[in-house]
C-alpha cells in the first residue's frame, strides 16, 4: 500500500472506487507518514487524527452508499491538507502568526467547504509565512519549513508548508494561495505543480486576506492532471465574495486527454524574463523544457513585457497598502492575541500588535500605512495602480502574438536558510517573474522541468490569458506525459 504515496489523484480515485483501499486506510497511511517525517520538516502545524479519520470514514460511507452514482466526486476519500490561511471550522486557523495562535475558526472557507463537499479528507493545516508575507517560509511564527530536497534550504513561500508536504509525500495534494507567487515559487523550489487561477475564479471567502486585489487560492499537487481535478472542485461563483466571477462551471480536465494539443501552440517568451538575474542552472533547465515543447510541435516567439521591471516596486506599494488595512482587524479587541499588560486603549492596541505580529508583517504594515498617508497616496498608491494597468496592457498585447507565455518561475533554485532574510529587497526579488501575473489578474502555474545546482528542482512557469486555465493545464499535462520530473521525489524520504 505504501506505493500509494506516489499515486496520482486519478489512481487514488480508481483504487478507492475499486475498494482496493479505503479512505480511512489512505488517511492513516499519510497520517503515519506525517507523524514520522513532519518533525524534521515542520510542514504541518495542526493535526487532529480523530477528526481526519472521522472525515475519512464519512467518505467511505459516501462511496459505499452511492457506489457508482455520478454524484460521487472522483476526489471523494482522497486526503489533502490546507494552508493555514483558510478558515477551517473547529481547527485552529493561525495564518502562521502568533496573533492567531489560539484562534479556532467558527466557519469553513469556501474552498474548504467545496473540497470537503467533494469528500476530500483533511489531514491537517500547513505552515506558511506569517499572513502569507514571505518567499521562504522563514517568517512563520511556528518556525521555518524545511525543503524536503535539502533540509538546509528553504521550501519557498508563502505556501511553503503545502509545497514541502507534497514533496515529502505527506499529502497527495494541498491548497495554497498566491498573492505575488506564493503557490508557484514554492512549487518550483520543491519540484511540484501548482496553479494560481485567474483572479476571481476561486472564492476568497474564508481565506485570510493579505492583499485582497491580488490574493487567489489554487491547487498544489504533483501533476497538472491532479491540479485540474482539484481546481474543478475549488473554482466557481460564490455570492459571498463580490470579486468572485459569475461564469458557467468549467471542467478543467476536459482537454487533458486530447492528443496533439501542442501542434501549432504559440509559446511567448518575454525578453524580460530571460535577461540577467536568472541563474544559469535555472536557464538551462527552462531552455531544455522549451526545446521539448518545440519537439512536441509548439513554436516559440519572443514577446515583450516592457513594464515588467516595474512589477516588484508596484507590488510592494499595492500589496502592503491593502495589507495594512486588512490586518487592522487584528487589534486584540474581539479575538486573537491581546497583550497581557496595558494602561489604556492606545497601549492595548500598540502592545498587542507589536507583540502579536512578526518583523516582516510589521514592515509591510508600515510600508502600507506610509503609502496611503495623506500627501503620499498620489505619489505611491495611484502611481502603482497606473503601473498595474500598464502591466495588464503589456500582457494583453503579448497575447496577441502567442497562446501562452513561458519562462522561469523563480530566478534561482531553493536557497539556504538565512541567505536572503537579512535583505528584504533580495527576498522580494525572488518573486520577480511571478508578481506581474497577480498584478494583471492572469492565471499562472509552475511545473517541474529539471534540476539545477545541488540537484535542486527547477520550475517552468506558464502564464495564460484570462480564464485559460484549461489550456494551460493541458499544455503542462502534455509535457508531463513525456517527462518524469514531476514524479521524482527526494531520495531521503522514500
Amino acid at each position: 500500500m505504501s506505493e500509494l504515496i506516489n499515486s496520482s489523484l486519478r489512481e487514488l480515485s480508481a483504487a478507492l472506487a475499486a475498494k482496493k483501499v479505503s479512505a480511512v486506510e489512505l488517511a492513516a497511511l499519510f497520517l503515519d507518514r506525517i507523524e514520522r517525517l513532519n518533525p524534521g520538516l515542520n510542514a504541518f502545524i495542526a493535526l487532529d487524527r480523530d477528526k481526519t479519520l472521522a472525515q475519512a470514514q464519512a467518505a467511505d460511507e459516501t462511496r459505499r452508499v452511492g457506489a457508482g452514482a455520478p454524484a460521487i466526486s472522483p476526489l471523494c476519500g482522497i486526503p489533502l491538507a490546507h494552508k493555514d490561511i483558510f478558515c477551517t471550522r473547529g481547527w485552529r486557523t493561525s495564518c502562521g502568526s502568533k496573533m492567531l495562535e489560539n484562534f479556532v475558526a467558527p466557519y469553513d472557507a469556501h474552498v474548504v467547504e467545496k473540497l470537503a463537499g467533494a469528500g476530500m479528507v483533511m489531514l491537517g493545516k500547513l505552515n506558511m509565512d506569517e499572513f502569507a508575507m514571505g518567499s521562504s517560509n522563514e517568517s512563520s511564527y511556528f518556525g521555518p519549513v524545511k525543503n524536503p530536497w535539502d533540509i538546509s534550504c528553504v521550501p519557498g513561500g508563502s505556501s511553503g508548508g503545502s509545497a514541502a508536504a507534497i514533496a515529502a509525500r505527506l499529502t497527495p495534494a494541498a491548497t495554497g494561495t498566491d498573492t505575488g507567487g506564493s503557490i508557484r515559487q514554492p512549487a518550483a523550489l520543491c519540484g511540484l505543480t501548482g496553479l494560481k487561477p485567474t483572479y476571481g475564479a476561486v472564492s476568497r471567502y474564508g481565506m485570510i486576506a493579505f492583499a485582497s486585489s491580488l490574493d487567489q487560492a489554487g491547487p498544489m499537487a504533483k501533476s497538472a492532471e491532479d491540479c485540474a481535478l482539484l481546481l474543478n472542485a475549488m473554482a466557481g461563483f460564490d455570492a459571498r465574495d463580490s470579486t468572485s466571477l459569475e461564469r458557467p462551471a468549467e471542467d478543467y480536465t476536459r482537454d487533458l486527454d486530447q492528443p496533439a494539443a501542442l501542434q501549432g501552440l504559440r509559446i511567448g517568451l518575454p525578453r524580460e524574463f530571460f535577461g540577467a538575474g536568472m541563474d544559469e542552472d535555472v536557464r538551462a533547465a527552462v531552455e531544455a523544457a522549451l526545446a521539448e515543447y518545440r519537439k512536441l510541435g509548439a513554436t516559440t516567439v519572443e514577446v515583450q513585457l516592457p513594464n515588467s521591471g516595474l512589477s516588484v516596486p508596484a507590488y510592494y506599494v499595492i500589496a502592503p497598502a491593502e495589507a495594512s488595512s486588512n490586518l487592522s482587524r487584528f487589534d486584540g479587541v474581539r479575538y486573537g492575541y491581546r497583550a497581557p499588560d496595558y494602561a489604556d486603549l492606545a497601549e492595548m492596541y500598540s502592545r498587542s500588535r507589536a507583540q502579536g505580529f512578526g518583523a516582516e508583517v510589521k514592515r509591510r504594515i508600515l510600508i502600507g500605512t506610509y503609502v496611503l498617508s495623506h500627501g503620499y497616496y498620489d505619489a505611491y498608491y495611484l502611481q502603482a495602480q497606473k503601473i498595474r494597468r500598464l502591466i495588464a496592457a503589456d500582457f494583453k498585447a503579448a497575447f496577441q502574438q502567442c497562446d501562452v507565455i513561458m519562462g522561469p518561475t523563480s530566478p534561482s533554485v531553493a536557497f539556504a536558510f538565512g541567505a536572503k532574510s537579512a535583505d528584504p529587497v533580495q527576498m522580494y526579488l525572488s518573486d520577480i517573474y511571478t508578481i506581474s501575473t497577480n498584478l494583471a489578474g492572469l492565471p499562472g502555474m509552475s511545473l517541474p522541468c529539471g534540476f539545477g545546482r545541488n540537484n535542486m528542482p527547477v520550475g517552468l512557469q506558464i502564464i495564460g490569458n484570462l480564464f485559460d486555465e484549461a489550456r494551460m493545464l493541458n499544455v503542462a499535462h502534455k509535457y508531463q506525459q513525456v517527462t518524469d520530473w514531476h514524479t521524482r521525489m527526494p531520495e531521503g524520504l522514500k
Binding site: T93, Y107, R204, A209, R240, T243, S325, H374
Partner: protein, 486 residues
C-alpha cells in the same frame, strides 16, 4: 448696529440617515433596534478573519430614491472606499464608505421659513450623499471601569447627506433638517426615529463679517433633536463671535453639545485629527447603476411633497401654507387625499381646515400619529359633507366628530340620525319657532326696533337654544329679520 448684524453665520449640515433595509449593508444580519448586545452581529459584522462584504442592493435603492427626490445626479459608477482608523467598536479597523466618487451628488431641498405673510422660501444645495456602514457602540457604563462593545449596529446602512454651507441661522438649519427628516420618511428610506439614532446631524458652523471669506468652522457632532440643534448652534455662534471679538482665532475642531449645560465643548482639534488613509475597497467592485435601474426605482417612487404642494395649490386652490401643512408627512397627505376623495374636491378647504384644526389638535392632545387616528378619513369627510349640505351646523359637527372619535357610530349620518341632530330646515317649523321666540322676548324685539341691531343676536340665540342647536342659524336669522322688519 447690533452685534448680530455685524456677523454672518454660515452653517452646513451632515446628516446620517439610517436606511430602512431588512438587513445590514454588507451582511445578512438584521438591523432591528433594541436587541440584546451582539446577537445581531454575524461573522462579517465582527470582522472575523477571512470574511468579505457583499453590498445590499436595497441600500442602493434607498440612495437612488433619495437622489431622485432631491433632483441630484446619480453616479453611473461610484466607488466604496476604506476609511481607516482604530476604535474598539469599529471591528475591521476601517469603515466602508464612499469618498472620491459618491453615489449621489448635487440636488437640494426647498425649505420654508416663517409663517403667514412673512414666510419665505430658500433652496439649500446638497453637495453629495453617500452610502456607508455604521460602527458599533461602546458602552462605557455598567462595566466597572471597563468598556463593553455592542456590535449590533455595526454594518447598519447609512446615507450621509452633506449640504453646501448655505444656511445662515440656526432657524434655517432646523428648517432644513426638518424638511430632510420629512423627506426621507416620505420616500420610505428612513424611519426618522431620532431617539434611536436613525437620523442624526452634525453641524459645521462658522461666522464671518459679511463679504469676507468663510471663517474657520467647528463641527458640532451628533445632534439628535431639532431643539438641541437650535440650542447648540446658537451657543456655538455666540461663542465664536465672542472669541473673535476678544482677539482670539477660531481653531478648526470637532465639538460636542452638552444638553445639560447648553454648551458646546471641544472634543479634538485639527492637529489631532486622523489621517484616514482612504483608498478604494478592493473587496467590493465599483457600484454601477444603469439608467434602467434608476427608471425602475423612479416608477416606484411616491409623488414628492413639493409636487404635491404645487398640485394642492393649483388644482384645489389651497394656500401655500395649507399645502405645506398637509404635506408635512406622507400619512398626513394620504389622509387628506382620502378625505378629499370622499368629500369631493369642492370641499377641499373645509377638509383641510378640519384636518389642520380639530383633527390635528386632538391627535396632538392624545399623542397620536395621524395614521393611528380613531377617526377615518371617510368619516371626517362625512362630517364635512353634512356641514356643506346644511344638515348640521359647525357646532353640531364638533359633537359628531367627538362621537366618531369615541367610536359611537359608523359614520356622521348614523350619529346624526341616532341622536336626532339633523338641522331643522323645514321653513314652517322654523317659522312657528320664530314666532314663539318673538312672543316671549318682547324686550329684545323692542330694542331691535329701536335701532339696536345687535339685539337680533339674542333672539337667534334663544331660537337655537330652543332647538338645541339644530336649527340652521342663517335661516333663523334671515327669518327673524324678515319678521322684525315687517
Amino acid at each position: 448696529m447690533t452685534r448680530a448684524a455685524q456677523w454672518e453665520v454660515v452653517i452646513g449640515l451632515e446628516t446620517h440617515a439610517q436606511l430602512q433595509t431588512r438587513s445590514k449593508i454588507f451582511s445578512g444580519s438584521s438591523i432591528a433596534f433594541g436587541a440584546e448586545p451582539n446577537v445581531q452581529a454575524s461573522a462579517v459584522d465582527i470582522a472575523l478573519p477571512g470574511v468579505l462584504p457583499v453590498l445590499n442592493r436595497e441600500a442602493v435603492v434607498c440612495a437612488i430614491k433619495f437622489g431622485l427626490a432631491v433632483g441630484a445626479t446619480i453616479a453611473p459608477r461610484s466607488v466604496f472606499a476604506r476609511k481607516n482608523y482604530f476604535y474598539p467598536d469599529l471591528p475591521k479597523g476601517y469603515q466602508i464608505s464612499q469618498f472620491e466618487i459618491p453615489v449621489v451628488s448635487g440636488g437640494g431641498l426647498a425649505i420654508r421659513l416663517g409663517a403667514g405673510d412673512t414666510a419665505s422660501e430658500k433652496f439649500v444645495h446638497l453637495t453629495r450623499a453617500h452610502l456607508e456602514e455604521d460602527a458599533g457602540k461602546s458602552l462605557h457604563e455598567d462595566f466597572h471601569g471597563r468598556t463593553g462593545i455592542d456590535l449590533n449596529r455595526a454594518g447598519t446602512p447609512l446615507l450621509e447627506i452633506v449640504t453646501e454651507p448655505d444656511m445662515r441661522s440656526s432657524a434655517e438649519a432646523v428648517a432644513y433638517a426638518r424638511a430632510l427628516h420629512a423627506l426621507v420618511q416620505w420616500i420610505g428610506i428612513c424611519d426618522g426615529n431620532m431617539q434611536e439614532g436613525s437620523f442624526r446631524c452634525d453641524a459645521n458652523v462658522s461666522v464671518r463679517r459679511p463679504g469676507e471669506p468663510l471663517g474657520t468652522r467647528r463641527e458640532i457632532k451628533n445632534l439628535n433633536s431639532f431643539r438641541f440643534m437650535q440650542q447648540a448652534i446658537d451657543f456655538e455662534v455666540q461663542w465664536q463671535i465672542a472669541e473673535i471679538e476678544e482677539g482670539r482665532a477660531i481653531r478648526q475642531a470637532t465639538v460636542l453639545f452638552d444638553p445639560d449645560t447648553g454648551e458646546t465643548r471641544s472634543m479634538r482639534t485639527k492637529e489631532d485629527a486622523h489621517d484616514y488613509r482612504y483608498f478604494p475597497d478592493p473587496d467590493l467592485l465599483p457600484l454601477e447603476i444603469k439608467a434602467d435601474w434608476i427608471d425602475e426605482v423612479k416608477s416606484g417612487l411616491p409623488e414628492l411633497p413639493q409636487a404635491m404642494q404645487q398640485r394642492f395649490q393649483s388644482e384645489l386652490g389651497l394656500s401655500p401654507y395649507d399645502a405645506a401643512a398637509l404635506t408635512a408627512s406622507r400619512e398626513m397627505a394620504a389622509y387628506f387625499e382620502a378625505a378629499l376623495e370622499s368629500a369631493g374636491r369642492e370641499n377641499a378647504k373645509p377638509v383641510a381646515n378640519w384636518i389642520m384644526g380639530e383633527l390635528s389638535a386632538r391627535l396632538n392632545k392624545e399623542g397620536l400619529e395621524i395614521a393611528a387616528a380613531p377617526l377615518s378619513a371617510p368619516q371626517l369627510a362625512g362630517i364635512v359633507r353634512r356641514i356643506a349640505d346644511n344638515t348640521i351646523s359647525n357646532k353640531i359637527a364638533r359633537d359628531v366628530f367627538d362621537a366618531l372619535w369615541a367610536g359611537d357610530g359608523k359614520d356622521a349620518d348614523a350619529v346624526i340620525s341616532a341622536r336626532g341632530w339633523k338641522q331643522i330646515t323645514d321653513t314652517g317649523a322654523i317659522e312657528a319657532l320664530v314666532d314663539e321666540v318673538l312672543a316671549a322676548n318682547q324686550k329684545s324685539v323692542d330694542e331691535y326696533r329701536a335701532g339696536k341691531e345687535k339685539a337680533v343676536n339674542a333672539l337667534v340665540g334663544q331660537a337655537m337654544k330652543a332647538t338645541r342647536g339644530k336649527a340652521n342659524p342663517q335661516q333663523v336669522t334671515d327669518l327673524l329679520k324678515k319678521k322684525l322688519g315687517a
